[in-house]
Symmetry: C2
Subunit: 491 residues, 2 copies
């Protein structure tokens, strides 16, 4: 059918676009910078939502929903926040259209100008903390552990499907606490939750770390992150969890009465992951044949392709295929039985490889005779003949094995592409060759960080959390090193 995936070695960026397009995950829309998430891509997002909702609820969080719009004046209330977010955003200035004089089109009605412009939320700290002001009076109202699933708009000039789009989908947690320590603990709990989710559900190995001041969320005291290495040696920030201190409580005057009867400002966190995770999923696991999906997130875990020439053959093959479908259904393993007569088995094989279905079962008349089926693993591309008896049980043991193998492969890639630079020249040459994660000593100053960024395009991806005392000198300034950090180019 002419579906073609450019090789990674040829052009990594086109390879990525090809996969998003040919696996029918998403496409650009008529609205600049906004994407259409197609059913197969959205099924991935739904599985992410289901799994995260489970984990959020287990840890005491509840979902709620806050307005799409933020009054312009709200953004100005937190100084650092407005600096980071007020710049590129969608501004609603009017609330009505009317017919043009010639009646041929509609035009903005100048009479319907808003007194105060509304911003389409680029993140919801301000509108939420303005609401929390009324929800929090006493220590008894704390902690407040709330999450929302929402669409977000940040005007982007250069967009890439899933990785950077003007509109994207995400979840944003916003919690309120009575003490600093409790808020810090919350932001770390979520960091751990994200890391566990990334590694055990998406099979993406991540480093947990702290962002440098320069890379911090606008309005945060500390930004924790999970950071993953893509196959082109670039880093992807896959999730962030912010300790916001009392910044938003100050900006929106949110105080509570302590047990002792004192009035104190509330402590805050916020945290989020977005549809960008799907971009990370693609870039971590996929190959030149197309998408590779870890079984946990795969909307279809097993596809069954019947192979036959005559109607008689079709009937005997169908018998076995249906038995297997029912067996898998009983085990709650989502399976697709592709009975489409208009497509040849070869076409189907290529299509399901492209779509990253973890396992493919091929059944022909000879297999029926031998009471066997051909099992194809998308992760290893290996085929094996297995007995048709208890195939469900066999597969339910195989799927976690595949999940683990996909994770191990990505972990090995990261290990193979992690380096240590002892000098600035080493760092530069490693970055130039897209070598991956580069550990190096840094003096801890924004000045040095920005110089290195300017000269190499690499940024500090994270400062490790469980840092030991650092010896030695900064590779750039030769001043005493404060941290050993990871440098990389990033998405």
């Amino acid at each position: 059918m002419g579906k073609k995936i450019t090789k990674r070695s040829e052009d990594y960026s086109i390879w990525y676009n090809d996969i998003v397009k040919e696996a029918e995950l998403a496409e650009h829309s008529a609205v600049k910078g906004c994407m259409v998430i197609k059913p197969y891509g959205f099924a991935l997002w739904e599985n992410i939502q289901t799994e995260l909702n489970l984990r959020f609820k287990e840890t005491g969080h509840q979902n709620a929903y806050f307005p799409l719009f933020v009054p312009k004046s709200f953004l100005s209330k937190e100084a650092a926040h407005v600096e980071g977010f007020a710049k590129e955003c969608a501004v609603v200035t009017h609330y009505r259209l009317k017919s043009s004089a010639d009646g041929k089109e509609v035009v903005v009605d100048p009479e319907a100008k808003l007194e105060e412009e509304l911003i389409v939320r680029p993140t919801s700290e301000t509108i939420i903390w303005n609401t929390y002001k009324n929800w929090i009076q006493s220590y008894r109202d704390l902690p407040l552990l709330i999450n929302q699933w929402a669409n977000i708009v940040r005007w982007e000039m250069r967009t890439r499907l899933f990785l950077r789009t003007t509109e994207f989908l995400w979840q944003e947690g916003h919690t309120a606490h009575a003490s600093k320590q409790e808020a810090i603990d919350e932001s770390k709990l979520i960091l751990d939750l994200y890391a566990d989710f990334a590694e055990n559900f998406l099979a993406i190995p991540v480093h947990k770390g702290l962002k440098s001041i320069n890379e911090r969320f606008a309005g945060a005291i500390d930004t924790y992150c999970i950071e993953a290495l893509m196959q082109d040696g670039k880093s992807l920030q896959a999730g962030t969890s912010h300790f916001l201190g009392q910044n938003f409580a100050k900006a929106f005057d949110v105080k509570f009465q302590t047990k002792e009867g004192k009035q104190e400002l509330v402590w805050a966190t916020s945290w989020g992951v977005s549809t960008r995770l799907i971009g990370g999923l693609i870039m971590t696991h996929s190959d030149d044949l197309g998408l590779v999906l870890p079984p946990s997130i795969a909307p279809i875990k097993v596809v069954i392709v019947p192979i036959y020439k005559s109607e008689d053959e079709r009937v005997v093959v169908n018998d076995v295929a249906e038995r297997i479908v029912n067996e898998l259904k009983a085990l709650k393993i989502s399976a697709k039985y592709d009975q489409d007569d208009n497509k040849k088995p070869g076409w189907k094989f290529a299509e399901y490889e492209l779509k990253g279905i973890p396992l493919r079962i091929g059944i022909g008349p000879k297999d029926v005779k031998n009471n066997s089926v051909e099992l194809f693993r998308r992760d290893t591309l290996a085929k094996e003949l297995v007995s048709a008896d208890n195939i469900g049980e066999y597969i339910s043991k195989l799927l976690p094995e595949i999940q683990q193998n996909i994770f191990n492969k990505a972990l090995k890639f990261r290990e193979d592409n992690t380096h240590y630079a002892n000098t600035y020249d080493e760092l530069k040459s490693l970055i130039d060759s897209n070598a991956g994660f580069i550990w190096a000593n840094w003096d801890g100053t924004t000045e040095t960080e920005l110089k290195i960024k300017e000269e190499t395009k690499a940024t500090i991806r994270f400062i490790p959390l469980d840092e030991e005392k650092i010896e030695g000198k900064c590779i750039y300034s030769a001043k005493p090193a404060k941290h050993k950090v990871v440098f990389a180019k990033a998405y």
Copy 2:
């Protein structure tokens, strides 16, 4: 705690607001017309989503996501559609803010004016059919059965929480078909799905019907609806399913090649229900004590309140309570065990009545001695002592009974408040006294419909689907009647 619900007989409208507020379902936000859906209200929406997703997927539909913004010119492409939707909407005209001259606030950057304004979607037919143009080439691409969960903005001057808000949440299905009949069948399939969902999940009795031309969706050939009667005698349109004919295919030039090789325009449907359903749920079942929730949608189905005075009593009561919680958990009945020491049992009783929890179990030391518990039904307000043995099994049989009873009560209310008007005077007096659904003969003209609306404020809620030949005259014009329809005031 001073929570007070105004009686329905005193002021129905304030009663509704009191329930929304005191049961902590939603509240007005700082953005005019937009609501904050609080965790307990959002849990209702999540349960609606889960149940509808199940039903949509069972009938072959897939979820996807389309952009929040619609280019202004798209709205003008379907003449009737723009008439209905372009009027009151949020218009994005700029994509950047900048610091004001004095640096104290942010202002719209006049340099960042969009070439074409973007409309925040009031519904997504236009952006979706513009996308479908690229997805549909051949009859093999049809049917296309897609749904999206999204936020919608329609600028409303007079808003009511859940019932009418500027931003609301909904699902919108958009399907494409090769034939007229298939599209009509789809719109009726969804109508049946909505009716079944309303009656068997929300316990809201609904009439299925067709809208008059005047009440039709802007751009539809036919609008089917489910219509429910509220306790104040007003009608609520609870869901609509539209047969769109080829209107949007024409507007966006969406053609397909038939099996025979001809080029034909695609047939369409769209359909939706929204957070308005939560308003309907409240107004159908609740009473002067607060919310009444059918067990199917109740986030918490059973609450357990321990009653004790001493620590010794607490321990024995706790033993039984924990056993019951585990029993319910094993049966997947969501239960809350309220161990909060700061609140008295009496306060808790009132609180959970207000929140509409279907069943409350009270356990005191005497109950433990007698191996019984006190079971309170929110729907009947009846208490009974039941054996603590096999309480889980007892409750799992009782919950469907409660669900049925809540439905029956609403159905009886509708029957008691359905009338037949033989003359226009009868209609007027019935409408004046908020008598509910009024059946009457109508000549089928928009002229008569609008006159009646003007004079009585009642509208035609629906034309029945399985209509027999009508005899007699229109109650207004005395011309031969074309339909027997239901008149009512509506939300």
